[in-house]
């Protein structure tokens, strides 16, 4: 189902944000080289976009002609490829090129924004004039040249996706399909979805910086349907990273396929748990969805500077036990959420949101950092040149605690353990959040017993943080292809957590009477 944008606006609940793991992907991907400029190239990215220092300065000057505190030009070129295997054949491909420049000017808390897909001087100047209409003061002196900042090294590739042909990718899809079919005779249908992308961004800022970043991304998803008699069950798994072709080893693909098959087959036995409040164990890895929803979004400083987040007045306060430390870090090499620089040209970094149980720092973009009198945390992100940036998460995780997974399971009399998830959502102001558990287990008398499936879990962010009573020492990041949606913009993210016990949450299920 596609919700058209104009309807989405109508349906959008106030202050909510959504995290999804879509089984059916948008494309990501690649092809030929693009713009070749007649202007004098000074930098490979400038060559790519067909601009030079002088044209960039001219557009910046027009953009800031009526005043500016912050301004940037965000040039982007993304080439994406996707492939679909259904019914044993790779019979559909998609490729796309998304190219344009976004022009932003900020005066105080006011933002003017325009973009153009036509990277010629007249079009860029027209867009600059449109964006600058937000301001009504006197002109800012724009820099005459832009000083290139050093390239990041978090996701360098030896072979760009543009050099990987379909002939190399097809055997990967075939391998995944055959592996899945070989794992259980009841597997009836296998679909495999491939995506790769090369994104190139070049950000020229009012303070005279030129940031360039080549951001690769790839993802493979396998969807399995098994049949037993008249009963069908579907499950899936995917892996995603800022990686290159060689990352897809047989071992990595086999692990992914086995996860999908195991998740599918267990559903024939799985039932709904009893409905109501109970202790919930979150297995390590993908359960980082708890952090993303229960605290991460509420810590994005745009909500806090407006006073609309439940965390708006909590900095410096105790929000969790001393063994709880929650971090958002973009500088983890090759992770899906990794970034060398954010989309405002700030160096990306590591932000400790909760340190030993104390609420420490929001995630800032330039606008909120200025308002709070702080440095940006490198959290300003945008979906593409079509959007202005705002504070977002990157890779969000909890650090190891003092307990073990076995101790946590042994501590629960009647509860559940959650393992895989499809999506989550949060209400920023009330703090209520949810996540959907695809697979999990009942825990009875300190033992893992019967499989469960398809339950939504709902809680309140600050209350759940207080109720984290045990944290194990097995933290890991999930390798799945998570996408975070906020105010109509999607960005790739990562998340992770050690095994954690939340003493009480509300679990969807059946009423036992």
């Amino acid at each position: 189902m596609t919700i058209k944008r104009r309807e989405f606006l109508g349906h959008m609940a106030a202050g909510s944000a959504i995290l999804t793991m879509p089984a059916f992907l948008q494309g990501c991907g690649v092809q030929t080289a693009t713009a070749v400029s007649s202007a004098t190239p000074e930098n490979p990215f400038m060559t790519w976009f067909g601009v030079d220092q002088a044209t960039t300065a001219r557009v910046m000057s027009e953009l800031t002609a009526s005043g500016a505190d912050t301004a940037d030009l965000y040039f982007q070129h993304t080439r994406s490829n996707s492939l679909t295997l259904e019914d044993g054949i790779v019979s559909a491909a998609n490729s796309s090129i998304e190219q344009g420049v976004g022009l932003r000017v900020v005066v105080g808390e006011q933002t003017g924004y325009a973009f153009t897909e036509d990277l010629t001087m007249p079009s860029m100047l027209a867009a600059a004039r449109t964006a600058s209409a937000i301001a009504s003061g006197s002109g800012e002196v724009a820099p005459q040249s832009f000083n290139p900042l050093g390239a990041g090294n978090l996701y360098q590739t030896s072979v760009p996706w543009s050099d990987v042909g379909i002939d190399q990718k097809l055997p990967v899809l075939k391998f995944v399909e055959e592996k899945a079919k070989s794992m259980d005779p009841s597997i009836d249908k296998v679909a495999v979805y491939w995506a790769d992308a090369d994104e190139r961004v070049m950000i020229a800022t009012l303070d005279g910086h030129l940031v360039t970043d080549h951001r690769p991304m790839t993802r493979v998803t396998v969807v399995v349907t098994a049949r037993k008699g008249d009963e069908l069950q579907t499950g899936y798994s995917n892996i995603a990273a800022r990686e290159e072709f060689g990352w897809y080893t047989e071992e990595r693909l086999t692990t992914m396929v086995k996860e999908a098959v195991d998740r599918t087959m267990i559903q024939f036995e799985a039932r709904r748990p009893p409905a109501g409040e109970m202790p919930v164990i979150l297995a390590s890895g993908a359960s980082g969805i708890l952090l993303h929803e229960a605290i991460g979004h509420g810590m994005e400083a745009d909500f806090n500077r407006k006073g609309t987040s439940i965390y708006s007045d909590m900095i410096g306060k105790k929000v969790a036990e001393p063994f709880v430390t929650v971090v958002d870090q973009a500088t983890i090499p090759r992770e899906r959420g990794a970034l060398n620089y954010d989309d405002e040209g700030n160096k990306a970094g590591r932000t400790v949101m909760v340190e030993n149980g104390i609420l420490k720092s929001y995630l800032h973009d330039k606008i909120s950092a200025k308002q709070y009198g702080l440095q940006p945390t490198g959290s300003g992100r945008r979906q593409s040149y079509k959007y202005s940036p705002m504070p977002r998460m990157s890779c969000t995780f909890m650090e190891d605690g003092p307990h073990t997974k076995d101790e946590i399971i042994a501590a629960v009399d009647h509860g559940i353990i959650c393992e895989t998830y499809t999506n989550g959502q949060v209400q920023i102001g009330a703090g209520d959040y949810t996540f959907y558990v695809k697979n999990g287990w009942l825990v009875e008398n300190g033992k893992v017993t019967a499989p469960i499936k398809d339950v939504n879990i709902i809680g309140n962010g600050p209350e759940s943080l207080k109720r984290i009573t045990m944290v194990a020492n097995d933290a890991r990041l999930d390798t799945g292809g998570w996408t975070c949606g906020k105010n109509g913009q999607s960005v790739p993210v990562s998340q992770g957590i050690p095994t954690v016990l939340v003493s009480k949450m509300t679990v969807g299920g059946e009423n036992v009477s």
């Binding site: 104009r6 969807v223 709904r272």
Partner: protein, 438 residues
Amino acid sequence: MSADLQNRAVQAIELAKGAGAAEAWATASQGRNVEFEYRDGALEKVKDTTSRSLNINVYAGGRYSSHQTTDLNPERLKGFVAEAVAITRALEPDEHRLITPAELFNGRPTVDLDLVDAAVAGITREQRLAWCEELDKVATAHERVISATAGIYDGTSNSASASSNGFTGTHAETYCWYGTNITLMDQGDKRASDGYYVGGQHVASLPAATGVAQTGLERALNRLGTEKGPTIKTSMIVDAQAAGSLVGRLLGPANARRVHQGQSFWADLVGKQAFSEKLTISDDPLIPRGFGSRLFDGEGISAKYLPIVENGVVRNLYVDTYHGRKAGMAPTTGSASNRVIAPGKLSLDGLLKEVGNGVYVTSWLGGNADQTTGDFSLGLRGHMIENGEIGRPVGEMNVTGNLRDLFSQLELVGSDVYQYSSTLTPSLVFGGVDFSGA
């Protein structure tokens, strides 16, 4: 405008044929979009953009692929299309991948869907600011308001399509939406928030901004003091606005692709009494000013009224040409237009009186459904229903069940159709629903 776009589409097909494509389908699009966001007495964001793109589907050597680009530089476009054809040739052959048969283009309706209002292009900065100020004034007129954001979103979208086997068609539409999101101080650190937006193709048809903001403020005020509801099995009224997404979840797998891939609980339901006899759903592409109205679908199939469910009996599924061919089903359309749930006679008040006690759902929070089995579990916000009246606000609850079972337990359908969506549904009443809360 549409002549330029039509030329662009036709030229793309010529490029594809020149590069060796047997058949090709192209769509050229262009849009203008203006957004004004106004927060707490001041303009916060203005976004004014014009965008464009070209989509092309290529059929070559019994193979198929699809491509999009925003880079319309003629020289590079030529390279892009040549590469698209080369990508197609590198795939595996599939006898079912064929361009839409030309006979499905026949019988295109000629009615005026009335989707364009020339006044939209003439909306001025002053008009948008005036709406913002009206919305803001009403939205902030309460002592508990922390912040209110008013938004105006208007624009025009145009597209033209052409195919190598004779299809041509254009679609143009204007839109204008406005409303507010409001956050109020609640107990402790909690904030209550909600909002309300209205929109349409025609500016003159929109309700006054002050009334829209008033509704938004009332919705936010209704959230104050929300507490966790009970764990209980009881009746559920889903209000007309929230019912749209629930119907969307029901219909999500009602298509040939899902059925053929073994991922749909609708697989064997055509011709059967699958749901409550109170349920009647149709797909109607020809509603004047409908948000999903169109004269042809994305494959060029001429638009026509399609019954999906009649009194609980499944009549048709959404069938695109490719998966229809694979599954042995005649094509209907692969994508929904306006999904219309036949309304009943009772107002919301009437439904509340009939139900007596239960849970009234006003919005969802997260949750999901398994499209293969229909199992679902959704977070919700709303109110308890007590003695036929809307009672205390509740949240932090889930509703859990199976979509097919749920729509078999549909007991009443209201008369209060929500207008601002392509899913036109009134409030729905279900019996015996599992809620989890405190």
